[in-house]
């Protein structure tokens, strides 16, 4: 009886010991910095994330599988694979004309892949109805280099527009809107009309509009393309804050300095789109 007890105790002790060692060894790399959830890790952090994932029911928000796309006979890129899980941060870089914008448009079903498949929240984009694409977009915030607004509506109304579009009453989210305007530093510009805004203000307004619906993923296409360095850093800070809140971020940029600045403050992965293929860049940036 006592022998059995001792054996059980030792076994339990070993298990706990292993788990602690495992966590100490793997914590910085595998668990906290991993853009994707490690399959083989049993540490408490990973378990928590796993249970969170099983609760929201999706392993990846946006998934590209062997995707190719081109505008002529020759594909722009092919065989691209990517899985954007909850809470991941990816940069997408590459030379001009490599297809960064095209890649992002595939991610919100603005384009359909020529080969392979793109799935949004588990649905293959090619098979989705127009309205289910619209509903998927309510869960994806998109920021463009030159963002378009409804010029006849005030900035505040523009930022609340996704709520209206989704059938909610923006007047019920007044406080949310005010907080969001303050977060992007546009609380004094809320009555302005979009044509009156500067480039940096437009980008921050677009970011606020992209997150008003509390989306799961944020796709940004060269959001810092038209703004100076200080504003770029400010936008980046806003994006890293969103990432810290658990949003998946995919940001296309050709600004390597910005990527370096980001790497110092978050665990971003860098995807490089070059020579017709999507590669995961090393840590050599």
């Amino acid at each position: 009886m006592s022998v059995a007890l001792i054996v059980a105790f030792i076994a339990r002790f070993c298990e706990l010991y292993c788990l602690v060692i495992h966590n100490i060894i793997n914590k910085p790399r595998a668990c906290f910095q991993a853009p994707h959830l490690p399959q083989d890790c049993n540490c408490s952090a990973c378990e928590a994330r796993r249970s969170h994932l099983s609760r929201i029911g999706e392993r990846s928000l946006i998934e590209l599988s062997e995707v190719s796309y081109g505008y002529g006979a020759k594909p722009l890129f092919s065989g691209a694979n990517l899985s954007l899980g909850p809470g991941t941060f990816h940069f997408l870089t590459g030379p001009s004309g490599a297809g960064k914008t095209t890649f992002l448009r595939l991610c919100y079903a603005d384009l359909l892949p020529m080969q392979g498949s793109v799935s949004l929240f588990g649905d293959v984009s090619a098979g989705m109805s127009r309205d289910s694409i619209a509903r998927a977009r309510q869960r994806i915030g998109v920021v463009h280099q030159d963002c378009q607004f409804l010029d006849h509506l005030s900035l505040r109304e523009n930022i609340g527009l996704p709520l209206l579009v989704a059938g909610r009453d923006p007047r019920l989210s007044e406080r949310n809107l005010s907080e969001l305007l303050a977060w992007v530093g546009l609380e004094n510009r809320e009555a302005a009309f979009p044509p009156e805004l500067s480039g940096g203000e437009r980008q921050r307004a677009a970011l606020a509009r992209a997150v008003i619906m509390d989306p799961d993923a944020i796709l940004a296409d060269e959001p810092t393309g038209n703004v100076d360095w200080d504003m770029s850093i400010r936008l980046l800070t806003l994006l890293t804050e969103l990432h810290a809140m658990g949003k998946a971020i995919l940001m296309a940029t050709h600004d390597l300095a910005l990527i370096r600045a980001a790497k110092s403050r978050s665990n971003a992965r860098v995807l490089r789109l070059t020579g017709g293929a999507l590669q995961l860049a090393g840590s050599d940036l």
Partner: protein, 295 residues
Amino acid sequence: MTARLHLGATEADRIVPPAGPPVRLTLATAAAMAFLAVFALALSLAAGRVATLWADALARTATIRISAPVGEMSAQTEAVLAVLAQTPGVADARAISAQEQQDLLEPWFGTELPLSDLPIPALIEVTEDVPGYDAEGLRQRLAAEAPGAVIDDHSRWRRPLVEAAARLRIMGWIALALILGSTAAMITLAAGAALAANEQVIRTLRLIGAEDGFIARAFIRRFTLRAGLGAIVGAVAGTIAIALMPGPGPAEGFMTGLRFSGWQWLWPLIVPPMAALTAYLATRRAARWMLQGMR
């Protein structure tokens, strides 16, 4: 989609920029079309009344004209009436008095016509009963009894008149259909122009996750309300214009005016809903077509 088309501006309407010239043109054209539609309706209904009037009232009557020397006139009239009294299918036969003849001729020849001096034929009005009489048999018997009598069953001039009235009625309905079709075409063009002018707005809305119905509704509401409103103005103006038209006058019972009669005054009420429905369908089709073209 229809259920959410309440009246009055809603928050969602503001996604479409404020009205431009196309929307005002829609209003004006809808009013003009409704005005014309009321006239086409009046034309159709009046033509229908004329056709019915002539077909019914004249179909059951015939006239026998007796041209005889003055001395034989009353004898032949008596003979004809006697024949008619024995003819199966004749419900009533009545000699038209000199005074009635005077009244009938008065509009044509004036009041001072010395009727007794003229060799006016005697007239007998014959009313058939439902199975009718044997016209050929009667004609032969009259030829034997009163050689001066001629039957005129009106069909010679009644048929073309009834046919003309029926044609006129069809033309009225065709005009109405054409007006409706033109309204649909006009709204489709106006809605297409408005959708094209707002392409950037629509793209932005799609990007932030607007469903097709949401975008389409904003445009559909705008055009449906404008067309309906314009049609109300046009239909009221048209109805007033019809009411100011002269009535049938002294020839009542034989001719008819363009004015509606009785419950027909309710007909113009269907014009605005028809215009609104047409605008609704046309805008919806234009919006669907436009939205299908963009992702």
